[in-house]
């Protein structure tokens, strides 16, 4: 197991946002979490990335207990979050954004190799290296956000709502790229409101409702599950 999560409870003030979430992620797979607004998806991501602290529970990544680690130390362990809403640095160029992604990577040669790898994946933003990130289109900003996270060469990439605000064609393109990143050896943990897209590429998936896992299975199983179809696929 690359990631083991045991009985995670996270609060926002006094509101319980995660109620005992347990799951695991195998090395090399794509795991998706689907759920409606307020189901606890982003809370889960923030707890795993370390910007929120759980009140109870344990997170083990690659055999190391990271429950009490800072976000920075988690990144050094190889687990990184590409956050909801992209959160690129708008007043930086594409190049500077990627450099910030590589902040912990001090080895220049590795940095350069990761840089090339990102541009191979996203040739569209390669042409815009010197452009201010704030002036990129939504799809390009999402590519940049993913590229910035890949600059750390993570073992596991977590993505929070990568489809947010993108047209269906762009969603398809971004999810194709996520599959490509996975094929190149990065484990993917994805949370999405767009259940169709998320389940389509998932090896395994979970449905999250008011802070609890309610359904689990392979991506295909969930796509054919009556409850899922009714609740999330709107058919």
């Amino acid at each position: 197991m690359l990631l083991e999560v045991n009985n995670l409870h996270t609060y926002y003030g006094n509101i319980k946002a995660l109620r005992g979430v347990s799951f695991n992620v195998k090395e090399g797979e794509i795991l998706s979490f689907i759920g409606a607004n307020g189901a606890g998806k982003s809370t889960l991501m923030n707890t795993l990335s370390g910007t929120l602290k759980p009140r109870e529970g344990q997170i083990i990544f690659n055999g190391v207990d990271i429950t009490k680690m800072t976000p920075r130390d988690r990144v050094k362990q190889g687990i990184i979050l590409c956050p909801e809403g992209r959160q690129i640095f708008p007043k930086f160029t594409v190049e500077e954004n990627l450099l910030m992604g590589a902040y912990t990577e001090k080895d220049k040669a590795n940095q350069k190799a990761n840089y090339e790898k990102v541009f191979e994946l996203f040739p569209q933003i390669k042409d815009r290296q010197k452009q201010m990130a704030g002036t990129l289109s939504g799809g390009e900003q999402q590519m940049l956000a993913i590229g910035r996270a890949l600059m750390e060469n993570p073992k596991m990439l977590m993505l929070d709502e990568p489809s947010l605000g993108l047209s269906p064609i762009l969603v398809e393109q971004i999810f194709g790229l996520i599959e490509e990143i996975n094929k190149q050896g990065t484990t993917i943990l994805l949370v999405e409101q767009n259940a169709m897209a998320a389940l389509d590429i998932a090896d395994r998936a979970y449905a999250l409702e008011t802070g609890e896992i309610v359904i689990e299975g392979t991506g295909k199983e969930l796509l054919n599950n009556d409850v899922i179809i009714k609740t999330y696929l709107g058919a």
Binding site: S49, T51, P71, R72, F92, A149
Partner: protein, 295 residues
């Protein structure tokens, strides 16, 4: 004409002093949305440290005293953040607590200075005392020229630092999206500490330069200049470094013209009159942009 020029030169040299201190306010505000009130006290403390060192161990060497003062001020800035700001930030408490904490630090530093230094005015070492240059009729003291040139060099240095240096660029990243910096594994706490170091070192240069300009030091220099530098920051647009610099120059030049052509006492309230006008007409200042709420 020569009176006009004289006032302008005086305004520019005083503006340099405001600008350097103002950058400290603006830099920290841009990252934490915190008005770090301790900045004015660092201005004073640095001048007192310079005075104390110069009148004891490093007597005679302005350069050595200056370097030691800079190091001390930089360390002081980091320690202030570490002790008084970081714990509040990490607990997730509101910035109001941090603001009050910074006022606490300001008070403590001022009291310490008063306790060790006393409340009388004392002579302060200066450079090239009594040397004047005639600039088209404007009698400009050598120290004024030195202050203007040093400030220019520092501003160029700051521009390079924030554009091309890894740490400097990191500080700019913090001011754009603190959360993303955490997620990218950047050493956020260290960088925030360093922003206090940079702000304090600039306040130190400013404090020492101001006392050299007056050739004297008293316990009141900190609040006098600190408050005006803060007004300059708001005038230029808090959070924008170039705003702090330009606000500093505008304020100082306006003050000098008011005292030159009208009255000395009016110049003391002109800064705050401008400040209030700015807050009414354009609260974001000259360069400030409307705050965009990040969700």
């Amino acid at each position: 004409m020569s009176k006009f020029l004289q006032i302008l030169v005086n305004g520019i040299s005083l503006g340099s002093i405001y600008a350097l201190t103002a950058i400290g306010y603006s830099l920290i505000y841009s990252i934490l949305q915190l008005i770090n009130m301790s900045n004015a006290a660092v201005f004073l403390t640095s001048a007192v440290i310079f005075y104390a060192l110069y009148s004891s161990i490093t007597a005679g060497s302005v350069a050595l005293t200056f370097i030691l003062t800079l190091i001390a001020a930089g360390a002081l800035g980091y320690v202030i953040e570490f002790i008084a700001i970081r714990p509040i930030r990490e607990k997730g408490d509101s910035n109001t607590y941090a603001l009050i904490s910074s006022i606490g630090v300001k008070t403590i530093l001022e009291q310490l200075c008063q306790g060790t230094f006393g409340s009388e005015i004392k002579p302060f070492p200066t450079l090239l005392a009594g040397k004047y240059i005639n600039l088209a009729g404007a009698r400009t003291s050598a120290i004024q020229i030195i202050i203007i040139v040093v400030t220019l060099v520092i501003l160029l240095g700051m521009t390079w630092f924030t554009q091309h240096n890894r740490v400097g660029r990191g500080l700019r990243a913090l001011s754009q999206n603190l959360n993303a910096c955490h997620l990218m594994g950047m050493p956020v706490n260290t960088l925030i500490g360093l922003s206090f170091t940079v702000g304090s070192m600039l306040a130190a240069v400013s404090g020492v330069a101001y006392c050299m300009y007056l050739s004297s030091i008293s316990i009141s220099v900190g609040s006098a200049i600190g408050n005006k530098a803060f007004a300059a920051t708001v005038l230029g647009g808090i959070g924008e470094l170039k705003g702090a610099v330009i606000g500093g120059y505008i304020l100082a030049i306006a003050e000098n013209f008011v005292s030159g052509y009208w009255s000395m006492s009016a110049s003391n309230f002109i800064s705050f009159a401008i400040l209030i006008l700015v807050l009414i007409i354009k609260p974001t200042g000259i360069f400030g942009k409307k705050e965009q709420k990040k969700v």
